[in-house]
């Protein structure tokens, strides 16, 4: 006989009739369970308190996250120097920084070589001119303006030029 057919034979097993009757009677007489309604004002108040507490907690968390840093800066005795922008600016202005832009002769005209120069020195001069012309070209490509004299500029201008 196939296993499935044998298993179907187990369907003949049934519970005892007396047991079924007693069990059914007991169960249907058991009171039906429902969620208790809110009849008491105290109960209603407690439930609203729970909800209100939850809302208050969420609001406090949001305020802390959004406004926390500015409050901390105002109230905290420990000032973090990196966050004090005004102090940083004053400090930067106090630095006496003079930027000297050296003379860059980037437009090299064809200047005649010194007549009496020895071959070695003339080749050195040529090498020097070649190097300086290359430096000038590089400077021109970087957008550096040809400075004819050294000059001192303010910190903002220096930072601006460096940022460019």
């Amino acid at each position: 006989m196939e296993i499935q057919e044998i298993l179907k034979k187990f369907k003949q097993i049934n519970p005892d009739a007396d047991y079924t009757k007693r069990s059914r009677s007991f169960i249907v007489q058991t009171p039906f369970v429902v969620a208790p309604p809110i009849t008491s004002p105290w109960r209603a108040f407690m439930q609203s308190l729970q909800f209100g507490s939850a809302i208050a907690l969420v609001g406090a968390t949001v305020i802390l996250i959004v406004g926390g840093f500015s409050s901390w800066r105002a109230l905290s005795p420990f000032r973090i120097a990196s966050l004090d922008i005004a102090a940083l600016q004053a400090e930067a202005e106090a630095v006496n920084m003079q930027v000297e832009l050296t003379d860059i002769n980037y437009r090299e005209n064809n200047k005649p070589l010194i007549a009496n120069s020895t071959p070695a020195s003339s080749s050195a001069i040529v090498a020097k001119k070649t190097v300086s012309s290359k430096v000038s070209e590089a400077a021109e490509q970087m957008g550096l303006s040809p400075a004819t004299s050294s000059e001192s500029i303010s910190i903002e201008e220096a930072l601006y030029k460096l940022a460019e």
């Binding site: 298993l7 097993i13 249907v28």
Partner: protein, 178 residues
Amino acid sequence: MLDGESKIVLKAVGGEASAFGLLYDHYQPSIYRFVILKVSRREEAEDLTHQVFLNAWQNIHKYKDLGFPFSSWLYHIARNLIIDHYRAKREHLNVDDMENELMAEIVNLPDTETELRMEMERARGAIKKLSPLHQDVLLMRFVEELSIRETAKAIGKSEGAVKVLQFRAIEKLKKMLK
């Protein structure tokens, strides 16, 4: 599935004891059979079956009709109670006594020949050696003749998983009964 089950369940959810009584009458034999084939002792099967329907009645206000038969929910409750039962009774189990009681049930079945009884006893012994999940699938599918969908809902698995479990359970059973 009971005729007009959706309406009856709706009334039971609303608190009508008579509606729940109809559901009890229809499903109690199946749940009892499922339980006794798992625990093998009549008294424990009766207690557990009673507890299944008591729990169902006390929690029916939470029941939501999601398109599955009511029986799936009952089998789900039954499975959980059986698991708790085994956890609680593990130290006091006597397998021999359990089997004798169930065999007595089978022997007392009407219209069963000796050969069939022997086959049923062997099958019952082999089923007991399967994993609980395989046992559940076999009992639900072939004893209680639930659909794959109903079985899947009762054991909390997908329909594909039920098919695989069923195939493997049958194969194992065949090997044991050879």
